[in-house]
Assembly symmetry: C2
């Protein structure tokens, strides 16, 4: 699965959170990190080819005035032409996934009806949801990074993994896919460990495997129960 | 009352609807027509002074991908600085009004839950509503111009007047203010008419005046009824 991360940020070099997220991507060979502010004015053909080549497109940006910075909007307005993107014309993005990675300067709880910012993130991102619907793309759950600088080291490590998962895991939010992704990642990690660490990791992997087998058995049982009820 | 119309449109010279709306503004001395795409990159101090000087600020744009073109977003992100605009800092726009004039390429009925575009205009413009709330501005009812080229001559004339009202009438949506605005406009028109036309207009004005007097009487009666009920 190929993922295109379109980063929109007018002062990227000053953003700790963006630099952090970028590090999570460096080792991912199927992820393209594409900074919009560095390629303006856009070469439409290049941008269209990049997005047509991806299975998952990520709009990543700091939440400025309840939306994306201008560079992303300009990308939408110049690259997503009718001929290229409308399903009754080119439909080049139909069937792909669209995800948002939002960095917030405020606590996430501030966004919601009755809260300080008055509207929820879900309400504020309706234009992107409408875009995905129009292009027949699947809109993914939004990935929110709130007040990055306040995160503890442990929280940052968790964010690192969650973010990689968001970019690279197929079938986001499905337990089986979660397990498979984790197993693959841990397995690829083994090569870099000492013998003792590797042995410990092997134990964890076997437990995950066992959990997976139990899940499969449970699923079979559930299917049998449902089938008998349907008769 | 002073009104600032911030027009955001990347190809303004090709837009019939924008040219039409501009004609409605030429004779309005208290309306500033300000084309954002012609003054990029923004001189922040100039833009801030312009908006601080207005009582009503209008964001006027074609609805591109369910939002405004990039030039307006760039204006928001560079001009509405924390120091200038946040109520706990400068609060330069607090107490003013914010209105949106949206031109749509599609019929207005297409926007809504269960309709082709899936979301209502009210849902899609939440980022602007949140902006107004944050800056303690009053968010006006939105002014929608759908499929301008399909309008009849009569519909265009009506649009012309409705638009001028939207830009210049204080207390939008209040019957008394509607009447006052109409009376003022008709009175100023009189000077340009022939004697016969002027006499006819005088009749209309007198009828409006009479209606106004009847309304006032009705209001007094209503107040009396309420007062007696409160006792």
């Amino acid at each position: 699965m190929k993922t295109l991360v379109l980063v929109s940020h007018p002062t990227l070099e000053n953003s700790y959170s963006q630099q952090f997220l970028k590090r999570a991507v460096t080792e991912e060979k199927d992820v393209v990190w594409h900074v919009l502010d560095q390629v303006r004015p856009y070469d439409v053909a290049t941008e269209q080819a990049l997005s047509a080549d991806a299975d998952r497109v990520i709009f990543q940006f700091p939440f400025y005035w309840y939306s994306a910075p201008a560079s992303l909007k300009e990308w939408e307005d110049t690259v997503l032409t009718r001929r290229f993107a409308y399903p009754d014309h080119g439909g080049a993005l139909a069937g792909k996934e669209l995800g948002l990675v939002l960095t917030l300067g405020l606590p996430a709880e501030n966004y919601g009806v009755g809260q300080k910012e008055r509207f929820s993130i879900d309400q504020l991102t309706t234009p992107f949801q409408a875009l995905a619907a129009k292009l027949q793309m699947t809109f993914l759950p939004q990935f929110i990074v709130a007040r990055f600088s306040d995160l503890s080291e442990t929280q940052k490590q968790l964010l690192f993994t969650r973010y990689r998962r968001y970019l690279t895991q197929a079938s986001l939010g499905h337990l089986q896919a979660d397990l498979q992704w984790t197993t693959e990642r841990l397995t690829s990690l083994k090569r870099r460990l000492t013998k003792q660490q590797s042995a410990q990791l092997q134990l964890i992997l076997e437990q995950l495997n066992e959990g997976q087998a139990q899940l499969d058995a449970l699923k079979t049982t559930l299917t049998m129960i449902r089938d008998s009820e349907d008769q």
